[in-house]
Symmetry: C2
Subunit: 129 residues, 2 copies
């Protein structure tokens, strides 16, 4: 394969989806997006940096909560338009709702089922509202 | 939480990204998209059905290769705009390149590194070209 192994940022308005998996446990923590700048900063610093579509700016994960993600591995898919990164999740929770994973609800025939244990109360971390 | 626990298809042009993880191993196999119809058919049949953005039609995974995905679990993220499904991958490979996972290449400081073992030769499955 002679093409350079870099994400193809041209495909999707400059963004690639990033699946974030916890190293060791294999738990899928969240999905986010990176643009070229976020990707470069992630590779340089070893900490996960995303692009927030709602805020339209770089999102240095853990800046507010302290729950930074130390990047252990970066894999890229066959089409070069999706990344899979493995991280050490500091603080034990990736989700702003206080759960280890953002995927803390299962859809079952009997209705929703919570599958994670809350690690923190979001009000303690992000301030009471 | 009183809102129904369904994917929010309105957010992203009728599509939600779906992370596909192998049950048992935790290996992340691929990422794809579902629209409402694909989601409904997946839930009804227990087999993963996606929406192909390139072909703009339903994509019944495994229709050509035989490598269907039996869905064991569906989880939804905090924003209800991403799904995580766990599947039994028939045939041992999710990727059209013949690897178990589409994420068979790692990006390392020393260059690309193949991290999966090829299960089949794509030419045998999809026909010689």
């Amino acid at each position: 394969m002679s093409e350079p192994l870099e994400p193809d940022f041209d495909k999707c308005d400059g963004l690639v989806p990033v699946i974030v998996q916890e190293t060791g446990t294999g738990l899928v923590l969240m999905m986010a997006y990176m643009n070229q700048q976020a990707y470069d900063e992630t590779r340089t610093t070893g900490r996960a940096v995303y692009y927030s579509r709602s805020r339209q700016s770089l999102w240095r994960k853990g800046e507010t909560s302290g729950n930074v993600q130390l990047v252990k591995r970066i894999a890229i898919d066959c089409d070069r338009d999706t990344l899979l990164i493995e991280v050490d999740q500091q603080g034990g929770a990736a989700c702003h709702e206080g759960y280890p994973s953002c995927f803390f609800r299962e859809i079952t025939p009997d209705g929703p089922k919570i599958v994670g244990e809350r690690v923190f109360d979001p009000r303690d971390v992000y301030g009471k509202q």
